[in-house]
Symmetry: C2
Subunit: 141 residues, 2 copies
């Protein structure tokens, strides 16, 4: 197994509501003709939105589940100023601010919002993780 | 907000157990000196493992939560044969096979496993999503 992730698929309650949220963040769909699923190119990978019940069914899992989803997505910003800007954009797009941006114990600057289905996104400036022009990050050894 | 994801952080019950699982899949850590967190370079982004309670605390969320996490990660393979191989490798590494590989309604070939914390991974061959040599995917318009 190569060391990579191709797609993160978020199971959503309403495809339209979630699509509109990410579009308000400025994201633009790929494969606009695809029906019943929404794809966004997200750097070198894809972020997909798919109805939660159908995602569970596809994985042969029960769709039941409540509370913390157990993970977080992170958007690494290029500066502290960009962290503030992205958190403000997310709130303007309808996100819930989970944690205002603040200095992090690991030396960066970070806050969290959650999307319409409650998926937490950390927005962080991490001086130890350089970001390339194309948005990719390369971890130090 | 640029259209990208920098890190997927999985909240795990046991950092050692989860690290060992991904290492058995052949993944190699970055930043090996980091304590209390495990980072893997995953294509152009990173996959991190972090204790679930601490992740919830960092996001100022309750750690309580049960059942379906509501999302899936996908690994797009380069062939049907690679789908079978990766699912076998995952099972040998201790994964639960959620769904044996089979022809998918959308024209590809796909199965699912779950990692030690129950995070579902789809392993799929999708003839419509070309994979570059570096593992990145580029969605068609």
């Amino acid at each position: 197994m190569e060391q990579r992730v191709s797609i993160v698929t978020l199971g959503v309650a309403s495809l339209d509501r979630s699509r509109q949220f990410y579009e308000r963040l400025g994201w633009r769909r790929a494969m606009r003709k695809a029906e019943g699923i929404v794809f966004f190119q997200a750097g070198c990978m894809a972020l997909a939105l798919y109805p939660r019940r159908e995602l569970a069914k596809d994985a042969q899992l029960s769709p039941e589940g409540t509370g913390f989803c157990g993970l977080a997505l992170a958007y690494n910003a290029r500066s502290c100023q960009e962290v503030d800007k992205v958190l403000a954009e997310a709130q303007a797009a309808g996100a819930l601010l989970l944690k205002p941006a603040q200095e992090a114990f690991w030396g960066g600057y970070s806050g969290y919002f959650s999307d319409p289905d409650g998926f937490p996104w950390e927005v962080a400036w991490n001086p130890g993780f350089p970001i390339a022009a194309d948005g990719s990050i390369r971890l130090p050894d």
